[in-house]
Each structure stands twice: as structure tokens, then as C-alpha cells.
Amino acid sequence: MLFDDGGKSMLELAGITKTFGRHKALSDVSLRVFPGEIHGIVGLNGSGKSTLLNIMSGSPVIQNTGGYEGQICIKGRPHRLGSPIDSLNAGIGMIHQELSLMDMMTIAENIKLGREHVFPMGRKLLGRSFARINPGKNKADAQKAFGRIGLTVNPDQRVLDLSASMKRFVEVAREIDKEALCVLLLDEPTASLNHLDSKRLMALLRDIAEKGMAVVFVSHRIDEVMMICQGITVLQGGSVRARFDAPMFDARKISHAMVGGHVIKVQRTHAPHHVRPILNLRNFSATAPGGCVGPVDLDVMDGEILGVTGLSGHGKSALASGIMGMHPWSGTVMFEGKKIDDLQPDHMVSKGLTLLPGNRRDSMLHDHSVMDNIVFTAVQSKKRFVRGFFAGKIGLSDKKKSRTYAGECVSQYHIHCRSIHQKAGELSGGNQQKVCLARALASRPRILFVNEPTRGIDVNAREVILALLLQVNEQKNTTIMITSGEMDELKRICHRIAVFYQGNCVGIFSPETDDQTFDRAFSGDVQGRE
């Protein structure tokens, strides 16, 4: 017992300090979470949230870099969490930002992985490792776990076929199926979910907490944290900056504590000035791994910012990658009034269409410098920053021009890096996203497709990125199509918002449309045109 509270707290941290080499990631962090409490941890990228969760979940990264200092108590008993097994035995469960499920396995197999029921005779004869698994009992357990979270599923269904939100619920079910579980840690669980799925998940977390569990909820979405948490700890630079208790929440005060100043929210001020369509889709369909889209008719106007939204798995993200020719497609695509017969990524890029994928792993060369990343697409598609030989067929990169341009981007886009020669993979998420955006813009696109531009990014960097998109749209007249589940952001910067349901565009709405109409559009029961 670290705090004098009569041994009531479920999780207690005292004086947690962690250093990576000379860098102090956490400094004297203390925290208490009571049974039935959902406690929020918020902070900018690099404030130490993930390190704190890694310590509590016994991540090998912590152990391999010298362990941690300080004490951790669960139910009043001290624990040294040196491995994930220690964490599991102490009753801690963890749900990571990225889904960690076996896609080819069934729901029941995923939930019981490593803790399967086996037939007793086999266990006696051959030991637990070689005994035959009892699938009936495992399925029953899976159903029981889902019953506890108020859902009914077919435990034989493969995880591959589930939607993103359902996969998240499988992870929650897997954790609460662990008998000893008393503390549940969640790292940005709603980052990959849209707001309706997020609401479902949060209702579920409330239920879990009411049954006596302690929940630690890490998120960049302050509104969500305020909605479900009873206490909020704000981390800044590895230290506890402020604490807030349930009735005293104030979004401005929380973001002020996170950033150390006020965040000015970006808002589009210019009225739409589009007059003619730049991209026409007729009867267009595309099949991507995350969902299918179409057949859809859609006109994208020259110089507008078009928001594309919908529930996960309803095809919104397949639209942009389909137009870029990255997935099987059918229908008609017209760009600047001319029909494009063959959608191939290289053709589309050379025509001036650029895609910024939601997954930053796909849109960067992590081992290359910030400069190399920024100029790459422009070098390849537009032959910018190249000194050409043999009529430009073979060109060497023009280092001087590249350096100058990358330097300009770093200062203009507020990219925080040691120098333009620092590896892009070493930057924080927000700065990586700025590099990706700078790369996409260096090729001077006519249309920029942006998928989930602010996913997993802190409140400060998020506004910088939205401001950049607005600036590019207004100053360079670049048409932008943003695919996102963040309605608040879409409403602030888009001229029009298209809502997709089961692969079809159910309506195109003005950003001023009320939330209820959007909610109904998400469930497909409203048709709307601006």
C-alpha cells in the first residue's frame, strides 16, 4: 500500500521514473485508480503516456532498456512488472492502439489463445501443451465473455471478416475473460473507430468499470475522456502536470495543461468558390480489404475540400484508394472532363492525383532522412529536384535544391526535427504526418486524397495539420478529399461532407448540418443533398 487510503485503491503507482539513455521519459509519476473508476491519461505526443502503459503492461522494451524506478501496487500488494507474464499474473490487461488479433483464427480461438481449455485425459497423458483443445468449452467461454459486454456473437466466425469496431470488442472480451483481471489499460482504443463505434465502446467500458474493475483510458480525444472518466491525469514532458476530478472537468483547462498554452481551433473562413467539377465518378465501385464502395456517382468540385465519412467497414476508405487504382475497380472516372480508361497508381500520380494513406507506415521511408522523404514523390513523379542526364531518363538528385526545399518545408510546416537529415522514423507521430503532407504537396497535386490525417495525433499537431490543409486549399487551389471519422474536424474545414453507408453515398451535406442528421445518415436512413 503506497497511499494512506485504507487500502481501497485498485492500482497505485508511486514515483515511477523511466530513462532511455540520457532521455528522461517519465519523472516521478504517481497515480491512484479505485475499483469502478475509469481514469483518463492525456498528454501530447512524447509526454510519456505510452511509456507509462508499457511499464504497467510489462513490455519487454522497458526491461531491455534498464527497467523502471518506483513502485506499483495492485489491490495494495506491491508488484515488480518485468514481463507481460508478471503483468498478467498481477491482474493487468492491456488493449493496444493497433489491433493485436490473429485474423485467420476464429473469435473463440483469439479470446482463448494461450489459455485454452484442453481435454483432461489428454492433459494427464501428454501434458497441457500436447493435449487436445476442447473447442466446445472455449466457445462457451467466448460467448460468456461477450455476454458480459452485452453482445451476442458466433464464436466460430473468423476475425478477418469482422468490422474494426467488432475486432476491438473481441480484444475487450479477450481481456475480461482473464479470471484475475482487475485493471484494464487501453491505449487510444477509439483511434481507429468512428464516433458511433466509439460511443458503443465507451458504454461498454462504463459497464466493465461498474462491475468493480479499474480502467485506465489513454486518448487524444479530450471530449471522450471527459465523458467517461472519473479522474484525469495530464502528463507533460514525462511529469504529472495536473489532475482533474469528475465534476470539475473543463476542456479548455485540460488542453491548456497539456499544451502549456491555449489551442486555437482552425476554422475555414473562405466560402466555397468551386464552379466546375474536376473529378466525376459514375457507377464507380472498388473493392479494398477494409470494405467495398459503390456503385457510386460523385462529383468533386475544383478547389473544394470534400469530406468523406461513414462507419468503419462501410467503404469510405476504399473510395480514394480505388480512384488511385490500388484496388480492383469498375465504372467511369473522368478527370478534368476526360475519361480515364486505366486507373493505375503511376498514371494517376503523373496526372496530379496524390494519396496520403491513413497508415503512416505506408507513406514514409522510415530509415531515410526528412529531406529524402519530402522530395521523394516530387523526384519520381514530377522530376523535380533532379539533374537529368540522357534527356532526363537517368537523373541524379539535386542535393542543393532538395536541401533548400526541405528546409523551407520544415520551417513552414513547423516540423520539429534535429535537422533535415534526421531519420523520419525517429520523429513523433504528428511530425511524421507533417513530413508525409509535405511530401505529398511537393509533387504539386491537383487533387490530394487524405485518409485519416489526424489519427493518433495530439491536439496541437492536429490543428497544425488541419491549418496546413486549409492553407494549401486556399492559397494553391488544391482540391482536397479528406476521408475521416472525425466529424468535428470535417465540419470545421470541409465545404461539403459525403456520408457513406454500406458502400453507397447516402448524401452530401453542408458542414452546418446538425449532428442528428449526420447520425441518421450514418445508419442509412436519410438521403440528403446540400
Partner: protein, 346 residues
């Protein structure tokens, strides 16, 4: 702004170098002429180095280790045979063989690329069997090829190629002796080393071009390359053709140094020493550099050439070979295990 300086010590390479140093010390002690060992090491570096260099384009483009190196080697052998058939001699003969082998290698490379592009993700094992099946196919060609120089053909019957064709009367050692000089008893094959370095520099320069950067990006992050407008299939094809062409040049250099053209099943296993050498050099797939090529070839080939005479002198010949292979392969395996262990996830 301060820049953090980190010193990365390549432990496996240091271990092998220390073992090599030990071998040299023993050689000195038992009066094996070290100058002769060094001369041999230099020649073996270039002789095998070009074949090791041939692995680089495919590695950097993310296709993996080119276990189908025999495809390029066979193209080079055709070029060599054509040069011998026309009784070309000296450096001109070697040059002629190289020029002939380039288009043949390019053609073979295209076919090879067609196959590898159909089996994305399983390239290495497929490449191994492409190599294995290409050798017997060419065996048929060697048996019926319409060459007319009697020194290449079976003496009885006068038809079909001999398994080994001597190059002494044509262009054996022509590159070895180009500009070579002696320094403190060590023969330095200057022309040969310069040729190798020039080839390395050309490959290095190629990967600095727009095309080279596109290939490199394909290897590092294929999805990124795709959204940047790069034609992935073309990049892979170019890498495979390049690899095959360099392998053809490699066998020309190898054969003139060895003094023989070896046909039929000889190229079957030639990919393995090259692959071992680049791994010993510390290559990590897409992050392969020319240092890995040069250092790896030097360490791998020198350890083999030095350990032979030393073991023969120290032990009875029957045991010597067993011990030699045990220790040298053991050291290489230990180095590779260390490299693998350093990069394991958990």
C-alpha cells in the same frame, strides 16, 4: 544543435577478422609465406567479388538473395565460349566475352524476372530452383552447341563441349596481370582491383539516380513506392536483369582468373558462396551496402584460402580438411547467429 554520435561496432565481422589475424600469425610461425597468402587473398577478392556484387540490386529492391545466380553465370559462360570459339585472346578476348554475355544475360534476366514476378513473397526458394533447373537445361545446350574450336570439344567424336575448357592460350589471367606489380613480395593486381572498384562505384552511383532511388524505395516500402507513382513490376524486372548481367560479368572475371571455363553442373552451387560472403559482410537485406560486399568477400574468401595451408601444415591431411571446415564454417555460423540474435524481436 548537437548531433548524437553513436559508434556501431560490427561484432561478427570483428570476430572473423580476429580469427583471420590468428591464422596469419600461425602461418607466420610455421613459415608459410604470408606475402603469398595476401596476394592470393587480393585475387580471390576480385575473382569472387563481382559475383557477390551481383546480389546487390535484387537485395536493395526487396526481392531477396539471388539464389538464381547460375542464370547469370550461364549467360556469362555462353559469352566466354563464343570468345574462345573465335579464338579471341588477351584483354580484348575477355572484353569480347563480356560484351557478348551482356545481351544474353539481359534476355535470361527477363525470363527470370517474369518467373520471379509471379511468385512475389517466395522469391528466394523459387530463385534457387530456377537456378537448379536452368543448369540441366543448359547442359543440353552444351552437348549440342554448334561450337567449332576443337579445344572446346570432346577430343573423341568432336561434338559436345568439354566440362572444362582451358583458357591459357586465350585470355587466362589477362585481367589479373593488368597493371599488377610486386610490393614487398606481395603481388598487387592493380588493374583487377580497379576494375572491381569501378564496377562497385557504378552500382553505387546507379542507386543515387532517380531510377535507383525508386528501386530502393520499392525494397524498403512497396506501398509507399506504389503511392509515389512507381511501377513496382518494372523496378523488380530491372533489378533482376541487372543482377543477372553483373553475374555474367562476374563469371568472366572468375573464369579468366581461374584459367578454365567450367561447364555443365559446375555453376549449380555457385550462388551459395556469394550469398554466404554478403551475409558475412553484415548485409541486412534492403540495407545492403558496398562495404558489406567488399568486406564480406574479403573475409569469407580469405578465411578459406588461408585456413587450407595452415591446417595442412599443422595436422595430418585427413583430419586437416575436417577441422578446417569445422572451424571456419563454425566461425561464420557464430557470426551469423550473432547478427540474427541482435535483430530478434523478443
Amino acid at each position: 544543435m548537437s548531433k548524437k554520435v553513436t559508434l556501431h561496432i560490427p561484432v561478427p565481422q570483428v570476430c572473423i577478422s580476429l580469427f583471420l589475424l590468428l591464422l596469419f600469425c600461425v602461418a607466420l610461425r610455421i613459415d608459410i609465406p604470408v606475402s603469398w597468402l595476401i596476394s592470393d587473398a587480393l585475387i580471390r577478392l576480385v575473382m569472387n567479388g563481382v559475383l557477390v556484387l551481383a546480389l546487390v540490386p535484387m537485395l536493395k529492391t526487396g526481392i531477396g538473395l539471388n539464389f538464381g545466380l547460375p542464370v547469370g553465370i550461364l549467360a556469362g559462360l555462353v559469352g566466354l565460349c563464343v570468345a574462345v570459339n573465335f579464338r579471341m585472346t588477351g584483354l580484348a578476348g575477355l572484353f569480347y566475352a563480356m560484351v557478348i554475355s551482356i545481351p544474353i544475360a539481359a534476355l535470361f534476366g527477363m525470363i527470370y524476372a517474369f518467373i520471379l514476378n509471379r511468385v512475389k513473397g517466395r522469391e528466394e526458394i523459387t530463385a534457387t530452383f530456377v537456378g537448379f533447373s536452368f543448369v540441366p537445361l543448359m547442359n543440353f545446350f552444351w552437348a549440342v552447341a554448334p561450337f567449332s574450336n576443337p579445344s572446346m570439344l570432346w577430343p573423341i567424336g568432336g561434338q559436345g563441349m568439354r566440362p572444362a575448357i582451358g583458357l591459357k592460350r586465350y585470355f587466362a589471367k589477362s585481367l589479373n596481370s593488368l597493371g599488377s606489380f610486386s610490393l614487398a613480395g606481395v603481388t598487387i593486381p592493380l588493374g583487377m582491383i580497379l576494375f572491381f572498384l569501378a564496377l562497385c562505384f557504378a552500382v553505387h552511383l546507379f542507386f543515387k539516380t532517380r531510377l535507383g532511388q525508386a528501386m530502393m524505395a520499392t525494397g524498403e516500402n512497396e506501398r509507399f513506392a506504389l503511392i509515389s507513382g512507381i511501377k513496382i513490376r518494372n523496378m523488380r524486372t530491372i533489378a533482376i536483369v541487372m543482377s543477372t548481367v553483373i553475374a555474367a560479368l562476374g563469371i568472366c572475371v572468375y573464369a579468366q582468373s581461374y584459367g578454365f571455363i567450367e561447364l555443365y553442373d559446375a555453376p549449380m552451387m555457385m550462388a551459395f558462396p556469394a550469398v554466404s560472403a554478403i551475409l558475412v559482410g553484415g548485409s541486412l537485406k534492403e540495407k545492403t551496402t558496398l562495404t558489406h560486399v567488399i568486406l564480406g568477400t574479403f573475409l569469407f574468401q580469405t578465411i578459406y584460402s588461408v585456413s587450407g595451408p595452415v591446417a595442412n601444415d599443422l595436422l595430418i591431411p585427413e583430419v586437416a580438411e575436417i577441422f578446417r571446415l569445422m572451424i571456419t564454417n563454425g566461425v561464420i555460423l557464430a557470426a551469423l547467429l550473432y547478427e540474427g540474435g541482435r535483430h530478434k524481436k523478443i
